[in-house]
Symmetry: C2
Subunit: 187 residues, 2 copies
Amino acid sequence: MSRIEIRLSGLGGQGIILAAYILGKAAALHDHKHATMTQNYGPESRGGACSGQVILSDAPVSYPHLTQPNIVVAMSQEALAKYSGDLVDGGLLLIDEDMVQLDRAPRGRVFAIPATRIAEKELGRKMVANIVMLGFLAALDQSVSADALRLAVRESVPKGTEDFNIQAFERGYVYGESRIEKEKESV
Amino acid sequence: MSRIEIRLSGLGGQGIILAAYILGKAAALHDHKHATMTQNYGPESRGGACSGQVILSDAPVSYPHLTQPNIVVAMSQEALAKYSGDLVDGGLLLIDEDMVQLDRAPRGRVFAIPATRIAEKELGRKMVANIVMLGFLAALDQSVSADALRLAVRESVPKGTEDFNIQAFERGYVYGESRIEKEKESV
């Protein structure tokens, strides 16, 4: 890895920025890489699409502006439209399948998870959909190690909710692993 | 204002990133400007100096990398050494006077406040030193309005601590106003 650019996007209130913060923290504190996280405010902060950009590198990040993401996570339709167009060819596009309909052939490899549904129906709290999605990402891409992410999740969520959030993470992780199995079988 | 770059810096644990987040949020949501906030992780995340960069603009911020800050806030000695060297000539340097000794002539105009001491001795909680410093900044520079900051503070701090944090903000604000008065008198 020299430089990996990851964009998390969705609706304000889905915990997108927290997820981006955790991703950067996991890489920097526990995987000992260099990382920056940039969040944009703007009209999107008033309820529309929002995004957090994380840049990971083996060397200090002197240019924290995302140029072309290797990975895009989209948790809402508007976020997909606004933030996935510049995905690198062959990159990874992760979507919440209940929140997002693909309306054209994607540029990258797509993996879908009903993260919000899992959070709401299986875990009982919609607000951990972001952490379910982080677990899903950890299974599908190893730019940041799953163990680093587990530590960063524990450190970053409100006190008393650590175990619950880890449960959400593991649920997404297992779901991601099952997607990989399916893909192998279908080859 | 076309573009204003503000760097908040200090020790990990001082709430620097939260303060930077609040500053960007205030500008974007309540002053209706465009804003980005970038945080670096790295060795500094493991206890040393940390910084959050906020860029404010009347137009969308296409280049979120801080080039030369107009304002630097330093809440620790290491942060001053590491993050204040590129302050624009005539810029604003705000320091916590108990945490930072100026060891050379500064490039900008310096204003000092014992933010940590005020938080600890007067308000009883050291952890609001970051909000005291935001109030101080609001009095000395109007790039982000004080009212926008008050709203963003309320929205961003843990539930139940809103009034206390606003009290911290006002304490810093009044202190900043008194500094301006003193400067006028000495002219």
